[in-house]
């Protein structure tokens, strides 16, 4: 057996996929998780996982999936990674099927596929309405088997605080906090993978789970790792209001024919079913005849905002619209959407079989994350043996899953995240093992004081936190900060508000110093951890807000109306390709284009030159310093997006 060992932090889909694959390759794994891995956030995913298996004979292919992904992300994603991911997607779905995922079936017994946003194909495999749960369980079971065989050791109820770096700045282990005993100690690992999920809790109530604080990757950023595309936060068009959480109404509700509408008359007080068909405004269907209710999420969320805020047509005058499934039979709905309709009924007391649901946009996903690397091959795919794949800018520290930044560009397509999580976990494994087998010095030979110093630092920090005796309640402070982010760094962004939010965040940071540690006991005390997480969330909110402030354009989920390039309504994206071709050849036949189109294309071209770049945040003197990096767009030429 391999004497070297990899530490995986987080047992969502990404962490479990990596653990399972590396264990298969004979590597010993220490799997660390905040809570039992079976309870990870990935269980929340409802709708499904994408893969162009073309079961429906529509002519779908991984190439088209690749194109949809890149276009959906407004060309900000790294294309070789997307291409490699989409190419592997059918295999991943088959693998998960073999591992026991109870995917829905066609009458002939094949896997069934449904439609999702941002594509015209049936490309999403699903297991009822709890696909994420089913995928996670299958991986959890494989990892449990390895645990029995002794290749995987689990430390659940443990929290990652930071990386242990040797004198060369290479990661040689992790500082782990036992959430029961409170003990803080170093674990040695020849490589460490952060598969710690997204940062939704920066916005307080979102569709995310309670552990999605982004604190692990922020800690890496504070230790010098680059953070990518922080400002790209996905707002999901359809969530259910709640006091503790904004529960998601999956896009699959629209994939199965759900229709979004508002009453044509502002302030209409009739019950939805009393409003006759012609007095309903199916605004997505009218404005986007081709994609209809299945426009990508950024478009959907903006349209809902527009209808409610600008047109004032929101249901009961509030930021809410109807999502209507009542035209389907109960049987159809129960079979295909049972789980999510149950959630709606359970948490609102209204039966969506009988009444249209009331939904509104909520923070859902972070396209941005800790920066990671990759090695591409000549033909634009990924070299799976490369130790660079998924490595952060700290040598030996890797990241995977929602924690990383490079697969979804400016906007993620529905059902592509479960895919990217499993894909990254599997794809990176051989490279990580190559890295581990070739490290200049095994962790066993690293001087003990490296671990002892790091441990002491964290122990001191936590005893300082426990000693905090100011006036602020950490949980109340978190609520306030989240309100600020929700109010000003959401769907529509405005520079003056972003600027004042940055100042506000600085105020939160000073108020953090005046926190009272409301529980100072030693056993199973979550408060000191939370105070530390809150500090990291404050740092992360700076990354998001500053990135948003400096990016003066409209791309994907990042919308600043004043920089909207105003695409003419009759413009065709292919025209732009022609324009670019002529530009490249050195002569643009200006009169071959309509003047309005030409002017738009010039604007678009200038804008892309300046902004088609990854935002990089680096921690300098207490703040994120922002710079920009090139994106690999060599496989599909960037062009304007259009969905109508």
């Amino acid at each position: 057996m391999n004497k070297r060992r990899v530490i995986v932090i987080g047992g969502g889909l990404a962490g479990l996929a990596a653990t399972m694959k590396m264990a298969e390759l004979g590597m010993s794994i220490l799997l660390v998780s905040f809570l039992p891995v079976k309870r990870s956030h990935s269980v929340c995913a409802q709708g499904g996982i994408n893969g162009a298996v073309n079961i429906k004979g529509e002519g779908d292919s991984p190439e088209i999936h690749f194109y949809d992904t890149v276009k959906g992300g407004d060309f900000l994603a790294h294309q070789p990674l997307c291409k490699d991911m989409c190419l592997h997607a059918p295999y991943i779905i088959n693998l998960m099927d073999r591992l026991g995922v109870t995917f829905n079936r066609t009458p002939e017994g094949n896997l069934d596929f449904r439609r999702f946003g941002g594509t015209l194909y049936h490309r999403t495999a699903f297991a009822g309405a709890t696909t994420g749960q089913q995928l996670l369980y299958a991986l959890d079971e494989q990892v449990r088997h390895f645990e029995v065989q002794g290749l995987v050791e689990k430390m659940e109820w443990h929290e990652y605080l930071g990386a242990v770096l040797n004198d060369d700045g290479r990661c040689v282990g992790a500082i782990i906090h036992n959430l029961r005993s409170g003990e803080i100690k170093a674990e040695k690992g020849d490589a460490v993978i952060l598969a710690t999920g997204g940062p939704g809790l920066v916005y307080g109530r979102t569709t995310n789970s309670m552990v999605c604080t982004g604190t692990a990757v922020t800690s890496a950023y504070l230790q010098g790792a680059k953070y990518g595309n922080g400002e790209f936060i996905q707002i999901h068009p359809s969530a259910i209001p709640g006091r503790d959480k904004l529960r998601l109404m999956s896009e699959s509700a629209r994939g199965e024919g759900g229709r979004v509408w508002v009453p044509r008359k502002a302030g209409d007080s009739r019950k939805p079913r009393e409003i006759p068909e012609k007095e309903r405004f199916y605004f997505l269907e009218e404005r986007y005849p081709l994609f209809g209710n299945l426009v990508p999420r950024d478009v959907g969320a903006r349209e809902i905002y527009d209808i409610c805020v600008n047109d004032k047509l929101g249901v009961h005058g509030e930021m809410k619209v109807y999502l209507d499934l009542t035209h389907h039979t109960r049987e159809f709905l129960d079979h295909r959407l049972g789980g999510i309709l149950e959630i709606y009924e359970k948490f609102t007391g209204v039966d969506p079989h009988e009444e249209p649901m009331e939904i509104f946009p909520a923070v859902h996903y972070s396209m941005g994350g800790i920066w990671t690397d990759y090695t591409r091959t000549e033909d634009g795919l990924i070299d799976h043996q490369s130790p660079n794949n998924q490595m952060t800018s700290i040598t030996g520290l890797y990241a995977a899953g929602e924690a990383d930044y490079q697969y979804h560009g400016g906007n993620r397509l529905g059902a592509n995240s479960l895919l990217s999580c499993i894909y990254t976990g599997l794809m990176m494994s051989p490279g990580v093992i190559n890295y581990v087998n070739n490290v200049p010095e095994s962790v066993e030979d690293v001087a003990e004081n490296v671990f002892a110093d790091a441990t002491r630092q964290w122990q001191e920090k936590f005893s300082e936190i426990k000693g905090m005796s100011g006036k602020e309640n950490p949980y109340a402070l978190h609520r306030e900060m989240a309100e600020e982010m929700i109010s000003n760094v959401l769907i529509v962004r405005d520079n003056s508000k972003l600027k004042s939010t940055l100042d506000k965040i600085d105020e939160f940071e000073s108020r953090w110093k005046n926190i009272k540690c409301v529980d100072t006991t030693d056993w199973s005390n979550p408060v000191p951890s939370f105070i530390n997480q809150l500090w990291n969330m404050i740092q992360l909110s700076k990354i998001i807000t500053k990135g948003a402030l400096l990016r003066d354009e409209f791309r994907g989920s990042h919308y600043k109306p004043e920089f909207d390039l105003s695409q003419p309504s009759d413009f065709k994206p292919e025209t732009y390709l022609e324009f670019e071709k002529q530009k490249e050849a050195g002569i643009v036949k200006e009169n071959a284009f309509e003047p309005e189109h030409l002017a738009y294309m010039k604007r678009f071209s200038v804008n892309n030159k300046k902004w088609l770049k990854t935002t990089i945040a680096t921690y300098k003197e207490g703040r994120p310093e922002i710079s920009y990096e090139e994106v690999d767009t060599s496989l599909i030429a960037p062009r304007p997006r259009k969905y109508d």
Binding site: R39, S40, R98, T106, G109, T130, E141, Y475
Partner: protein
């Protein structure tokens, strides 16, 4: 509408310390659930007597009844606290930790035994490898419907909390693990080790310990047909028993 909600919470500082009841009265806010109340207490940890106390400790993650973390005994009935809506509960609301597991602190308990049971019944598919081996077997929709229902089990513990046979001092596997063995015994490749699972179920703590009280199925929040699973595994076990006799 009331303007406050009162919660009576059974607290305990650690596994070995004594438990005590503490009452909290917080402002009523529409659409609250038990977890949002606990969050309100966190943000202002003051009990009904006006004393500043430590916030209550509990476990939760998904907040939408799919992770199983937040199970506790609410007004005497075991349930997920995230889907327990204040408007639908009798007041004052009483909260207690589950009684069939060691208490970690306050409402958080240690359910390691349930994950251990999944190891005992070998609740997994044995794969030849994770490389591309093409698609899995075709399956009928009716098979999928049965399997899907079973695979929704989130190891939450409601079934075993309600079970008269499951106790802190015995080693009964419990309904959830028995039901999982049924799930894997019906999987086209995992059933290759069906007999090993049956051997486990025939041992002490196995299926014979079930007294057929059927409390489990009523307690399961996911409506998993546990008694059906127990009956099915009972059939498989006695089939194996007779085969053993004839082969001996």
């Amino acid at each position: 509408m009331p303007d406050t909600v009162t919660l009576k919470i059974k607290r305990q500082d650690s596994e070995t310390s004594d438990s005590y009841w503490e009452t909290f009265t917080i402002p009523y806010i529409p659409r609250s659930n038990v977890i949002s109340c606990l969050m309100d207490i966190q943000a202002n940890p003051v009990n009904a007597k006006g004393e500043e106390v430590t916030p209550v400790v509990w476990e939760s993650n998904c907040l939408e009844e799919v992770c199983g973390a937040c199970t506790m005994v609410i007004n005497g009935k075991v349930h997920q606290s995230c889907s327990a809506l204040v408007d639908q509960l009798e007041k004052p609301i009483s909260l207690e930790p589950m009684s069939k597991f060691p208490v970690v602190r306050d409402l958080a308990v240690d359910r390691a035994r349930m994950f251990g049971a999944l190891k005992k019944v070998q609740a997994w598919v044995t794969a030849d490898g994770y490389h591309d081996l093409g698609p899995g077997e075709r399956e009928s929709t009716s098979h999928q419907e049965v399997a899907y229902k079973l695979s929704e089990c989130m190891t939450c513990g409601c079934c075993v909390e309600a079970c008269p046979q499951y106790s802190l001092s015995n080693n009964f596997l419990g309904a959830a693990a028995i039901s999982q063995s049924r799930l894997f015994n019906m999987h086209p490749t995992a059933k290759n080790i069906a007999d090993e699972r049956l051997d486990t179920l025939m041992q002490k703590g196995g299926i014979a310990d079930c007294g057929n009280a059927q409390n489990c199925v009523e307690a399961c929040p996911k409506s998993i047909p546990l008694t059906e699973s127990i009956a099915e595994m009972g059939r498989q076990v006695s089939g194996k028993f007779w085969r053993n006799i004839f082969q001996a």
